[in-house]
């Protein structure tokens, strides 16, 4: 018995000191840009998120204020509302976009959402109207001397051959969306989606058009017999938007070619990660991509 006690004691004592330890790293914080230029038939815009990578010892969120909120008459009927900003976000960047004629200075604009301020850089002059086929250059500089730049060419606007698309589409039978063949390096993706907040089973579909010689997309008939929406609630015809996107290679590579691929995984109890990718960005991580779209609307009968 004496031996059992001694062994048990040794066993439990010996496991001490194997817990969590603070960790740091010597990584140089690097700018991480998400810049997107979108050219739609009825609107064109662009915005830039300027983020940075963090060291292991850096905080992910930084407390900027706290407020006591009372919700009742009792002395304990309150909670403290904390507001943070993301440690990843860079607020002091000078962001400019230019083409061969003009330069736009983007300014940061913050939104408060779910306890966190989200900041992106946008054109406040109202004159930034990116055009298909046009090349735009991005330059991001920060006060501490970091700089990233890149350029992207907005793909040519794709063209849905609207005259050949039926007026009323349905999930029950396949329907076809013809379009013109791709004429530049863009990759096409066709999306259908219910608009105005409606829902119908089979309305939302996405298809990547991998073969650039394709000129028609045919919808898939979805099995809606087991739809988790209550039967009868969404039987009315709805408005359907058919969107044909042309993506430039930066956008395609970042979000589709490598978007779901992790370079590093650790099967159980581990984590996943990547070495940091950049497409269309020099001097930092991230992507500077562009999309040009064409869209039509149709009636969709579930």
């Amino acid at each position: 018995m004496k031996h059992v006690i001694i062994i048990s004691f040794l066993f439990f004592v010996s496991c001490e000191g194997w817990g969590w330890q603070p960790v740091d790293s010597d990584h140089d914080s690097t700018l991480n840009i998400f810049g997107l230029i979108v050219s739609e038939p009825d609107s064109s815009y662009g915005y830039i998120y300027v983020h940075q990578s963090l060291n292991l010892q850096d905080p992910e969120n930084i407390l900027i204020s706290s407020d006591t909120v009372y919700f009742g008459p009792g002395p304990n009927d309150f909670y403290i509302n904390y507001e943070y900003r993301s440690g990843f976000t860079v607020l002091d960047a000078q962001v400019t976009i230019s083409n061969h004629e003009k330069e736009w200075v983007f300014a940061n604009k913050s939104n408060y959402d779910w306890g966190m301020y989200e900041t992106k850089y946008v054109d406040t002059s109202g004159t930034f109207q990116p055009q298909p086929g046009e090349t735009y250059s991005l330059r991001v500089e920060t006060d501490d001397g970091r700089m990233a730049q890149g350029s992207v060419t907005v793909p040519l606007r794709p063209n849905i051959r609207e005259e050949f698309v039926q007026d009323t589409l349905s999930n029950r039978t396949p329907y076809s969306i013809p379009f013109d063949a791709v004429e530049d390096d863009g990759t096409f993706r066709l999306k259908t989606k219910a608009i105005y907040g409606n829902y119908a089973c089979g309305a939302n579909q996405v298809h990547l058009i991998a073969d650039r010689t394709d000129t028609v997309w045919t919808s898939q008939v979805s099995d809606c017999s087991n739809s988790w929406w209550d039967e009868g609630e969404y039987e009315d015809a709805i408005q359907l938007e058919v969107l044909l996107e042309s993506m430039d290679s930066h956008y395609y590579d970042y979000f589709i070619e490598y978007g779901n691929k992790n370079e590093f995984i650790s099967f159980i109890m581990g984590s996943e990660g990547a070495t940091g990718r950049s497409f269309g960005i020099e001097g930092g991580y991230g992507v500077f991509g562009a999309i040009a779209t064409d869209k039509i609307e149709r009636i969709f009968v579930p």
Partner: protein, 821 residues
């Protein structure tokens, strides 16, 4: 091909036997077990041979005259028989050696020296039961855990005994039990091997440069040879450890039958322990007034294995051996709940049944016919089946009804999930060993394997509709049925060119049905004796492999191997081994071995690992394909040193390995794979302290395994639109990592000790009690690091990251008993 086989067999049967020869078997006198690698030699001459795994020896060309024939074997007394051999006569002499204490240095030196002279293959080690039982082990003796202490062999971590040999991954090892391929020779995700040490006679391990009779793998060979059974009396052994009880019983065949049988089994008792704990928790909960639903058992896991063998000696020249093995790991979780409600005109009854049934294991059967065609010719034909299956069966069923003011409603819903991987291997092999004269031993044979691989993932559901009808749906997410037929034909000559120079020249021709091509594997072994004590060995060989496993290369823990044939679109991988070594056996029977090797790998493939689930181009959730691989360039080289002492009060070895392995894929430039450890030092010793007491010790030091260092954090943007219908982009926190496997864990260090005390029994048997401590110094050997965010608990503000090393085996004492009767 058929004609070739025909010629080989005809050649074997028609070669005349003109010269006089001496043949026979060497067996253990106490139980009739054949003694492999025993040495039989004609005293005063250079004529001698070692027995094969069946204990059979051939001295093919002995001049007529009178001699003393000597049989010796480590651990047994020398046996000398006078004999007279006449012109053209063939004599058969069977030896039965009596066991001796391991202190007869003279006997041992003779035995070891003969073996030292005979073996041409480099990188080969044979371990017997004594080696396996005496050394410290985790909870109970395990052959794989001893093998990992040899130079060139390593395991990824303490929790896995899967072997990485000279830059080869575990799927590149051919692991056999009595010659039958075993596909997943592990229990409990690799913590224990499938092989019950009570049933093992010896383990024959080739770290590289293996002969032509072995094919289909490009790494190493491990053949576990089970006991044949006691031909003299019924005897046995039993062992009880903290996790399992096991036993073995053996004896002669009854009545007039000549032969033996052996039956061994093992079962763990995790499930009984956890069931008792669950019941105690349930009682405690009830006594405190809680009425929680408990499953019958929180962790209903156990494994078992049963193996049996029957040897039937039909006559002096024919023997049939039937061998079977069945081993399973079983996790069978059940949870049943019932709930009722009756209040305020509202009633409800609901039931739920959940089952999680997970089984994986092997089942093998073989029938071997051994025919001594002539004294110089042994023909072995072997029929075998090996079945491995891994099966997860999960189902959930809930049903009930409720009634309230709004009316009555009923429900009856269920879902199921099945995942499985099945390998069904049926083999036939024939091997002919012909010893025409003292210079040549020719081995030839063919092997045919018919292997079916089945991989599947199935989802299903059933539900009760409003019309009280049952509707169901079943989706097969993955269904791969891949049959593969492998053929192999080989010939090998062990040629004693001169008293100091030997060669082993082999050639293997093989094919796999999915790849319409013949693959040739030449294998060359050369051995030169510098003097009686020192030899130089050189070996070069090519090794093709026709199957692979689809497991991610970065996984830390591996529960099962997912086997599949090399996909049709990929070329068959192969490896070339080049080995140069020098061996020196001192008069005191201490072996010094230094070997260097270089292995190239061509057409190697590694699984494209990634998220288990991904979204297809059509926006559908899908499984990452299991058969999508990166073409991988690889090489490995190293230097290994071994000092081994097999006799005296102190036995054991010191092994040092310097090893480099590098891989390259389209994603990553040359990098060390996760199992790479440049420096490994193992000191293994067993000291007979007193007549009754042994002390075993192992000290392991190794460079830490590589891992991909986390350097920081970054937000990657993801796009989503599938369900909302609107595109949006959102930042996803991700770790920012450095170069692939660019950093290493701290060095691995572990000391294990074992104390064994023996007490003799009156019937000639003995009982032993053992006590052992794993990781005496409680050194933290990290399996991996996990990361988490440090928070200010009051404000929720983050304070950077924290990291914890997940430890491998901590300080862990165990004990047990075994009895031999």
């Amino acid at each position: 091909m058929k004609r070739f086989i025909f010629y080989i067999i005809c050649f074997g049967f028609t070669v005349p036997v003109f010269s006089q020869s001496i043949t026979g078997f060497v067996r253990d006198n106490t139980n009739g077990e054949p003694l492999s690698y025993a040495n039989v030699f004609v005293q005063g001459t250079s004529i001698g041979a070692a027995t094969n795994v069946d204990g059979y020896f051939v001295l093919p060309k002995v001049s007529s005259g009178e001699y003393n024939l000597v049989a010796s074997m480590i651990g047994f007394e020398l046996d000398t028989r006078p004999l007279k051999i006449r012109e053209g006569e063939s004599i058969r002499i069977d030896f039965r050696l009596k066991p001796a204490a391991l202190i007869g240095e003279e006997i041992l030196v003779t035995a070891e020296r003969q073996k030292f002279r005979e073996q041409v293959e480099p990188s080969r080690i044979q371990l017997d039961m004594r080696d396996i039982e005496r050394l410290p082990s985790f909870v109970e003796p395990d052959v794989f855990r001893i093998l990992r202490l040899l130079p060139g062999v390593q395991t990824m971590n303490d929790f896995s005994s899967a072997l990485y040999v000279r830059g080869s991954t575990p799927d590149q090892n051919l692991i056999m039990m009595d010659g039958i391929t075993v596909y997943n020779p592990f229990h409990l995700g690799g913590v224990f091997s499938t092989f019950n040490t009570d049933a093992i006679k010896e383990a024959d391990f080739h770290a590289g440069g293996f002969p032509a009779r072995y094919g289909g793998r490009m790494g190493s060979i491990l053949n576990i040879i089970n006991r044949e059974g006691n031909t003299e009396k019924v005897s046995g052994r039993a062992n009880m450890s903290l996790i399992s009880s096991k036993g073995m019983i053996e004896g002669p065949l009854p009545g007039k039958w000549k032969g033996s049988w052996m039956l061994a089994g093992r079962r763990t008792y995790f499930d009984y322990i956890t069931k008792a704990m669950t019941l105690a928790a349930k009682r405690e909960s009830k006594s405190r007034g809680f009425n929680n639903d408990f499953p019958e058992n929180f962790f209903p896991y156990h494994f078992y294995d049963i193996e049996g063998k029957i040897n039937l000696d039909i006559n002096e020249n024919h023997r049939l051996t039937l061998s079977s093995f069945l081993g399973d790991d079983i996790y069978d979780f059940k949870y049943v709940s019932f709930d009722s409600y009756d209040r305020n005109n509202s009633t409800s009854i609901s039931n739920n049944e959940f089952n999680f049934d997970w089984k994986w294991g092997n089942k093998t059967n073989s029938l071997t016919w051994r025919w001594l065609v002539s004294p110089k010719m042994v023909l072995k034909t072997f029929f075998a089946s090996s079945y491995f299956r891994f099966w997860i069966d999960m189902d959930d069923h809930s049903w009930g009804e409720s009634e309230d003011d709004w009316g009555t409603s009923k429900w009856d819903n269920s879902w199921m999930f099945d995942a499985f991987d099945i390998v069904n291997d049926k083999s036939i092999e024939t091997e002919l060993v012909y010893t025409p004269n003292e210079k040549h031993t020719i081995t030839t044979g063919f092997q045919a394997k018919d292997i079916d691989f089945t991989l599947g993932l199935i989802f299903g559901s059933k539900w009760l509709t409003d019309n009280d009808a049952i509707e169901s749906r079943q989706d097969t997410a993955l269904w791969m049925v891949e049959p593969s037929r492998e053929l192999g034909l080989y010939i090998q000559d062990k040629w004693h060119i001169s008293p100091v120079f030997s060669a082993q020249l082999g050639f293997r021709l093989s094919s796999a049905s999915a790849h319409n091509q013949l693959y040739s594997d030449p294998r060359i072994g050369l051995k030169y004796l510098l003097d009686d004590d020192t030899s130089i060995k050189f070996n070069w060989g090519r090794y093709h492999q026709f199957m692979t496993i689809a497991n991610p290369q970065d996984e830390n823990l591996r529960f099962v191997d997912i086997w599949m044939p090399i996909p049709k679109d990929n070329s068959i991988p192969y490896s070339d081994h080049t080995i140069l070594g020098i061996e020196h056996l001192t008069p005191k029977n201490i072996l010094y071995r230094l070997e260097t090797y270089y292995k190239s790998f061509d057409n190697l493939i590694t699984l494209k690992q990634g998220n288990i689930f991904s979204v297809s181009d059509d926006g559908m959730l899908q499984f990452t394909p299991f058969n999508d691989f990166y073409e991988t360039d690889a090489y490995a080289y190293g230097l290994e040193g071994l000092i081994q002492k097999k006799s005296g009060n102190l036995t054991g070895w010191i092994g040092y390995t310097y090893a480099v392995t590098k891989w390259k894929t389209e994603l990553h430039d040359w990098y060390p794979p996760k199992f790479d450890r440049p420096h490994t030092l193992n000191v293994v010793g067993d000291w007979q302290w007193t007549e009754k007491t042994h002390v075993g010790l192992t000290i392991s030091y190794a460079t830490g395994n590589p891992f991909t260092e986390v350097k920081g954090r970054i937000q990657n943007w993801k796009e989503s639109f599938y369900y909302t219908g609107y595109s949006n982009w959102w930042p996803n926190n991700s770790l920012l990592v450095g170069e692939k496997n660019g950093d290493r864990f701290p060095d691995y260090f572990r000391i294990d000790v074992n104390f064994t005390k023996r007490k003799q029994l009156k019937n000639g048997g003995f009982k032993e009690s053992y006590f052992q401590i794993i990781n005496v110094t409680n050194h933290l050997n990290a399996l991996m690091y996990i990361y988490n965010t440090n928070y200010n608990e009051e404000t929720g503000e983050t304070l950077g990251m924290k990291r914890a090393g997940v430890p491998m085996f901590p300080f862990f004492p165990t004990f047990g008993w075994r009895i031999h009767f």
